[in-house]
């Protein structure tokens, strides 16, 4: 009965062998177990791993810290070999599918695993991530790895609970190619914008002061960059050239920008009559209205800062995401089929074959 196998047959049996599966799975498991602890205790090297795709992280951090990171390629290679081992097994089964079709569930799981490992490698090498991008309403964000593509924030609305706790952030987002709108979505928690392998998710939001509310002789008015105020009787016009939330006067009397946090707000105005500029200068709110404006009868009494929300978003591109989804469908279906066949085999009194 015993026949001598050719070298090729022996090699194929070895590639399909369950013992090899156990060795590779154990190797990948043990390496990752140790590695995960190294990861945990060395956040300096590993904490940014989710900010980039694996290959970018490896180029930036991993390769320079081989003493701490060698386990990752080792575990990766073991997993890829495990997937190849699974592929051999699957091919072997496909050759015998007529007699072994009852194992379809098990082999769906195997197929799903191969697809997910492939998808993970594809995403890790061919994807990119843009973590935490700040976007104000009306602003566009170019996607550098997808030339000609932009994200535009059309509207933003935070959802605040009764206790003042932020509950959600609703960003109306458009994905554009040039002027063409490819997709529009209200992005919020658990509702990303998905287009091809691109997924945009909300991270947080904030508010940035972009002007001030003033009481004037003619009532309340909001001044932001670009605003124009016609001063009632004397034909004068006041235009806002700039607003800085935090500014300071240098030694030479020049006004310098200090930051985005509201602290020492300043307006740059130009005062004109019939289109002819009369005066141009800065009004630092803490210093009081400049002499020149008061001389022309301007009355401005600051009351409240004006803010504009901005949204913080993350954009990830993973070309393998759909393949991973297909893989998980295979695994999900396979699990149910395998459950049925497990009990079917049990009912027939099958024992596991012994390798």
């Amino acid at each position: 009965m015993a026949t001598d196998k050719t070298f090729a047959q022996s090699l194929w049996s070895w590639c399909c062998s369950l013992k090899l599966t156990i060795v590779l799975a154990s190797l990948a498991t043990l390496l990752t177990m140790g590695g995960s602890l190294v990861m945990h205790f060395n956040p300096r090297v590993f904490s940014g791993m989710d900010m980039q795709v694996l290959n970018d992280w490896w180029q930036l951090r991993g390769a320079d810290n081989l003493r701490l990171s060698w386990w990752l390629p080792a575990a990766g290679i073991s997993s890829v070999l495990l997937a190849l081992n699974t592929l051999c097994c699957l091919i072997d089964w496909l050759g015998k599918v007529k007699t072994r079709w009852r194992k379809s569930g098990e082999y769906c799981i195997h197929c799903g695993f191969i697809l997910i490992v492939t998808a993970f490698c594809w995403g890790g090498f061919g994807g990119w991530r843009l973590p935490e991008q700040v976007l104000q309403v009306g602003q566009t964000l170019p996607l550098p790895e997808l030339p000609g593509h932009y994200l535009r924030l059309d509207h933003f609305q935070p959802v605040i609970g009764d206790s003042g706790r932020p509950l959600d952030m609703l960003s109306d987002l458009s994905l554009l190619r040039g002027d063409l709108v490819l997709k529009q979505e209200q992005v919020k928690t658990n509702t990303p914008l998905i287009y091809g392998g691109l997924v945009v998710v909300p991270v947080s939001f904030g508010q940035r002061a972009d002007g001030f509310r003033f009481a004037t002789a003619n009532g309340i008015i909001d001044l932001r960059q670009g605003a124009q105020l016609a001063l009632a009787d004397n034909g004068l016009d006041l235009q806002v050239l700039n607003f800085w939330p935090d500014a300071a006067r240098s030694g030479a009397g020049q006004v310098v920008y200090r930051g985005d946090q509201l602290n020492n707000p300043a307006f740059e105005f130009v005062l004109s009559r019939a289109g002819q500029p009369l005066w141009r200068g800065w009004y630092l709110l803490r210093e009081g209205l400049p002499q020149e404006l008061r001389r022309h009868g301007v009355i401005l009494r600051p009351t409240d800062p004006l803010g504009r929300y901005y949204s913080v978003l993350t954009a990830n591109y993973d070309p393998g995401a759909y393949l991973a989804l297909v893989g998980s469908v295979f695994i999900g279906v396979g699990v149910w089929l395998a459950l049925f066949s497990f009990y079917y085999k049990r009912a027939r009194g099958d024992r596991p074959d012994v390798a």
């Binding site: 799975a25 995960s36 990830n316 596991p352």
Partner: protein, 263 residues
């Protein structure tokens, strides 16, 4: 109300463990029946309480340690009842229900208050992720118990315990079922991670160890086909596997700090 129901379920399980224990010495069939009835009573109380809490919160309350321990204990009781009612494993109940007692007992001193739901957890994918994960864990706990009982039966022996071949078969079933449900947990979790954070896998320690749990039990699904790993080997693997589960569920949260959304 919460505390009364909690202590009642605990008392029912404690009484069932006592009956199983008495049965070891007295060997009375009636004691086994009473023990099973007590487990059923405890389970009904826990199920009612879970339903009430779910209804009151508007979501499956499994977002803090008390709630997950409670749910784990409920799932373990359900798993035990499945094996007991289907296969009549009788005396094996002592070990399983003792474990459940420890699990529920360690939840008793914790605060049962329903925490508010973090918006990102407000999705059916999260609910499925948790249900499949803890039912999977419960089956791994069952496999652990059956593994311990297998080794006990093999080396010391007790005629009230099922035969070795039966214990082995049940252990393999628990592992297979656990793996199947844990696989569904991983699928729901990855889909949820993708829509919530834009990636289906994150390099945080909890996600990494959940993947390890999955690979470990996938390996176990195959080890039963290899002669060397059958029987005692499989029992030891079930024990080791549950160690990996415990570290993933409790160890990471208690010993290390994780940035997984549930820790």
């Amino acid at each position: 109300m919460t505390k009364i129901m909690l202590y009642s379920a605990f008392a029912a399980y404690a009484a069932s463990v006592l009956c199983y224990l008495l049965n070891v010495g007295l060997k009375r069939r009636s004691l086994q029946t009473v023990a099973l009835l007590l487990v059923l009573i405890g389970f009904v109380i826990q199920t009612t309480q879970l339903g009430l809490r779910w209804n009151a919160a508007g979501f499956l309350p499994v977002t803090n340690l008390f709630a997950t321990q409670f749910f784990f204990s409920w799932a373990l009781a359900a798993t035990y009842l499945y094996f007991e009612l289907r296969y009549r494993i009788h005396a094996s109940g002592l070990f399983v229900m003792f474990m459940n007692l420890l699990l529920l007992g360690s939840a008793l001193p914790r605060d049962p208050q329903l925490p508010p739901l973090i918006p990102s957890l407000d999705t059916p994918l999260f609910t499925l992720h948790i249900i499949f994960s803890f039912v999977g864990y419960a089956l791994f706990a069952m496999a652990f118990s059956l593994g311990v009982l297998y080794l006990f039966q093999r080396h010391i022996g007790a005629h009230q315990l099922p035969e070795l071949s039966q214990l082995r078969k049940l252990n393999e079933e628990a592992i297979f079922l656990g793996f199947a449900l844990f696989t569904l947990c991983m699928i729901a979790g990855s889909l949820w991670a993708y829509i919530a954070w834009g990636t289906y896998f994150s390099w945080n320690i909890k996600s990494v160890w959940s993947t390890l749990v999955w690979i470990f039990y996938a390996g176990m699904c195959h080890a039963k086909f290899i002669r060397r790993w059958q029987g005692s080997g499989y029992a030891w693997l079930s024990i080791a596997g549950f160690g990996v589960v415990l570290f993933t569920y409790l160890g990471i949260g208690l010993l290390l700090e994780s940035n997984h959304p549930l820790e």
